[in-house]
């Protein structure tokens, strides 16, 4: 008996080892460096003076930076919601296709992104510009008297974000929907639930792990995909990603950039935690 327990303990240790190595060497060490930077001071020429100061953190509390943070969170939220609404029916449809087609259809979702997303974003600029196809169609159909200003607006930036992040929602959603047990769904109908009720009470809760995973994979990267908002939004939106990029590279203030990213990381982790708790008191594992 004890032998079996010991063996399983060793087995567990062996399984935990690679993830721990990965997370410690490639996550903890770099994170520790960032923490050190965040308490340091910038020298005149953008070097780092290793002292202990909280100035970088208190500086972030100015209204201008808090506004940038709240704007970014709002953009991330809107993007995530749109992506969810677009991706859910799509993933549902995909999961109901004949088995031999599914793999291919799923692959078709990611293939566009094997082309660099920067190039794809430039292509969107062509699509959205004043003499681009969208405007030509709108004018031809008589829906607009002349070219509509689509490019360099906030909706254009959000469209770009929705575009590049769509697969990150579709994949986990598909995984959750595909493993739905149809007998459960049928049982709901048999018990007299209408489609809306069945969806709300049975289907959606059962696919929640996919929704949670997808939302995380979309919401979080939105905060830092600055080049998309730069190109399609005309670089007029300042998201935290832009801010940190600018502080790190242009102002060459690593300490402040590091402090800002620690704050953003903290806020995001907190939001993720609240979000997961809100959906289930027992954590992600017990969502089902």
């Amino acid at each position: 008996m004890t032998g079996a327990v010991r063996r399983s303990r060793w087995g567990l240790a062996l399984m935990v080892l690679p993830p721990v190595l990965w997370l410690v060497l490639l996550q903890v060490v770099p994170l520790a460096l960032i923490l050190v930077y965040s308490f340091s001071r910038r020298t005149a020429y953008g070097g780092i003076e290793y002292t202990f100061t909280l100035a970088n953190y208190t500086r972030f509390l100015q209204p201008i930076y808090l506004k940038v943070l709240s704007d970014s969170l709002a953009v991330a939220l809107i993007t995530t919601l749109i992506v969810l609404v677009v991706a859910y029916p799509f993933a549902w449809h995909l999961a109901r296709q004949p088995a031999e087609r599914r793999g291919r259809l799923l692959l078709l979702v990611v293939i566009p992104f094997w082309t660099n997303s920067l190039i794809l974003t430039y292509a969107w600029k062509v699509i959205l510009r004043a003499d681009g196809p969208v405007n030509q169609i709108l004018t031809a159909l008589g829906l607009a008297p002349g070219p509509v200003q689509l490019l360099y607006t906030k909706p254009a930036a959000i469209l770009g974000l929705v575009y590049v992040l769509l697969p990150y929602m579709i994949l986990p959603l598909y995984l959750s929907i595909e493993k739905l047990d149809p007998s459960t769904v049928r049982a709901a109908y048999d018990l007299g639930a209408g489609p809306v009720q069945a969806f709300r009470r049975v289907i959606f809760p059962l696919t929640l792990p996919g929704v949670v995973a997808g939302a995380l994979l979309v919401f979080i990267p939105t905060l830092e995909l600055f080049y998309i908002s730069d190109l399609l939004g005309g670089a007029q939106m300042v998201l935290v990603g832009n801010l940190i990029q600018r502080e790190f590279l242009e102002a060459r203030n690593w300490p402040f950039g590091a402090a800002a990213s620690i704050i953003v990381t903290g806020v995001t982790l907190l939001l993720v935690w609240v979000y997961v708790r809100w959906f289930s008191p027992g954590g992600v594992e017990e969502l089902i």
């Binding site: 109901r96 974003t121 489609p195 994979l217 995001t268």
Partner: protein, 285 residues
Amino acid sequence: MGRRRWGDRLLSIHAWAVYLFLYAPILVLVVFSFNDSRFSFWRGFTLRWYAAMFQNHQIMRALENSLVVAGWTMLAATLLGTLTAFVLVRHRFPGKSLLEALVYVPIILPSVIMGVSLLATFVLAGLRPGRTAIILGHVAFAASFATVAIRARLVGFDRNLERAAMDLGAGRWQTFRHVTLPLVGPGILAGALLAFTLSLDDVVITFFTAGPGSTTLPLYIFSAVRLGVSPEINALSTLILVVTAGVLILADWVRRWGVNHVKPAAGAAGRGEPEEPERMGGDGA
């Protein structure tokens, strides 16, 4: 019944619309790869960008680097992600929630910060920037995305299936091979796709971890747009697309051949499909 059919039709239209959305920029890029101007205004048909692309050593070298890096990243990140997801979902051990939070860190951290700190870490460890460093840097974040995806599949996994298999005399490995893997498989596959795609797209972390001669395609592209997107890049993207489609068709062909010549392995368990009207009990439970 009629309502259901309408619903299906709407879903199908929606799916087509999503594919159109996903491929709209690709269409633009294919068209402009034949455009006789380096600007994105149509000036006439040409094939010169294709010729130029093949003669551009930098592009060819970068393509090779990208594929090598993405291949290894996919392999390593998928293995790590699978393991991490299993460990997080199935086991309890001290420090687990810390481990869990750490998984999300690379998804949250701005890549500039991550790139700089990874480079500094590698330098501390005596690892010279170059291809290996790029792969490690990519694994660092791609494994996180893979973990999240695979985990979504593992959560709510009915462990009774495994227990039943063991009760019926299947060994650990057999159970894993025939029960666990088929159920988690799609999750692993999705994780692999994510890792491969992320690696093929990364610019910033690659920039910081790259050494002489290890420039990848996105890095080259990112820098090249200083003069607008070169049509050579469009030509290359078109070519990649064509090759991918070719590989898919080939794989499909091989599969059909396989189905016709090899009997499908019996006894493997799997969950039924949502749309299947027939009964699916007895699958293993």
